[in-house]
Symmetry: C4
Subunit: 193 residues, 4 copies
């Protein structure tokens, strides 16, 4: 068989992921309904919906930029990476749901813990994707140090997510602070450094 047939195309996996993430990040706007009243109060009453939208958008955007950085590391794509990536996309697609759940229950403990569990699942499937890439490049000189730094960061964030998920049951606000902390750490992907 020709060599071109023995591998998946990285470009197509990226394009599919971009399409899925573009839909996820955008359809949330359908939940914002323009008020029929010109009173500023009518718009102000929508602020929780706006806050959900902005937080979800930021969260998904942070994952997109890190996904971008992650796939920049991949030299080839195998079925393992595709399925880890599909799992990541499915978890990401639930972010708007989970964000709305937390907001509509006024940051109650259980919904915030559910949010934390979803964050953990997103982080874990990101980690799985990284490991699929690392497996294929493991033998390469120079890759070991990238992998070491990235693994430390991945394990750290998973541990914080797990802790925040439990903490949410007692103090949702403290848990949300931890989620924000991880968000800030990932705003600029370190994979590229």
């Amino acid at each position: 068989m020709a060599e071109g047939e023995s591998t998946f195309s990285k470009g197509r996996v990226e394009a599919f992921s971009d399409g899925v993430i573009a839909v996820i990040i955008t359809i949330m706007v359908l939940d914002l309904k323009a008020p029929a009243s010109a009173e500023p109060e009518a718009l102000a009453r929508l602020w929780p919906a706006f806050a959900i939208y902005v937080v979800s958008f930021a969260f998904v955007a942070i994952y997109w930029i890190n996904h971008h950085a992650l796939f920049a590391l991949a030299k080839s794509v195998d079925a393992g990476l595709i399925w880890a990536n599909n799992l990541l996309l499915m978890c990401l697609s639930l972010i708007p749901f989970a964000t709305a759940y937390v907001a509509e229950t006024d940051l109650a403990p259980f919904p915030t813990a559910v949010y934390g569990a979803l964050q953990f699942a997103c982080g874990a499937s990101f980690f799985l994707s990284f490991e699929a890439i690392a497996r294929a490049r493991g033998a390469e000189a120079g890759f070991a140090s990238i992998a070491k730094g990235q693994r430390r960061k991945n394990v750290f964030s998973l541990a914080v997510y797990a802790a925040a998920t439990v903490l949410a049951l007692f103090s949702p606000f403290a848990a949300i602070g931890l989620f924000a902390l991880i968000g800030v750490i990932y705003v600029v992907p370190t994979l590229l450094r």
Copy 2:
């Protein structure tokens, strides 16, 4: 006429397919509405909707990975392939509907048979797409053995889908077992082997 004008672009067909599949796989999430109550029971009541979402997502993702593998075999794209592919995309776009139909009727016989018929239609249009590619590459040395293996697999899965569609009228659970079996077979595309 210049040669560049005599053929369709494979890249654009892939990009269009990726876009369509990305929308299909993602808009299903619009059916998940966050509960306004923080009680765990309120979330638990959503489990059928979650199950529909996860099953549909997995099904469409399996088709995407196989679509990817299928087009990796194509060296050129003609109108026959484009229309077989459009038919496949239309069938895939009905998967969330059919999955919801089965779930909301509690796996009743008739809806499960409809689901089987749709699976058959997806499989048949995938087969048509493969045959359009095979027609263009038929004369190539080395392609015959790929084609033989793929045809055997395609015929086998169509036969199972047809059997499961009939079986569903008597035993929906047995039929669903057959659908799952085919799903597992396609999780990693053999076209690439």
Copy 3:
């Protein structure tokens, strides 16, 4: 200024168009709601919605394949082509609406004429896009004969659409026959021949 900055990228215009058409062709499925009853009659009652979906999908798919063929002719992209293309995309995005309008009013005269007018608008903006491409390639040897054939086809279909729009007010069924005729003519794009 570098030459690379003096022109639009054809690839991006195609990618944007593919994205828009992928969303148009897919979101229509949101109008199909799974029945909660397992009775075959409950599914059968949805047939008008299915018919709308299939007709709209086919119509948009025919435009996509012709759009693909059209842009295969373009050697460069200018602002005129981009705006003609944007107009085409906007007209196409209204196809599901117009199809539903015709179906929900049981093929009444006025809605069928509106459908014809939209078809005319789609055809006219396709024509404008072609002319923008032809302007840029006019001087090329060999292009004149392609352009002649395409213009004849475009003018013919616009004339048929105009006639069908008027005819619809008297005999919607005859008008729909004319729409189908043009559809069949465009199933395989002749631009590529």
Copy 4:
């Protein structure tokens, strides 16, 4: 580290942006519901919804063509540009909401001012994106004159948006005239000249 790992891919940022803008520009059509009556009046009653759709579509299309021109100037992509771009995409995604808000309140002063503020935010994040590109190319001979012209245009339009936002509180129609003026200026991007 290999050089290929030290930078983001411009193509992926463009593809992601195209996907997001394609969804934004298209999902608005979901708000158009086909009337069940064949009376022309039933369709005519939808004209405000159509007007919102056409204006939003045109607005987003103008941004897309300018985004296209903007990224044609970029030689590389850094995290600063990606985040400015994400901000622009988020602002753009709110355009359909803001357009509907203005239309449904019959062009009342406060909603029109909100619309102006959103326009300002879109313009400002476009400006930020330009500056991120200019930073990376600042030292290049020949770029200074492009940058100078573009900056003058960006500052001018931001000033007009700010003025129109305040003016809207007193005369919404005058403000809308100013919005239209800026739209006309950007229909053909000057970045490319």
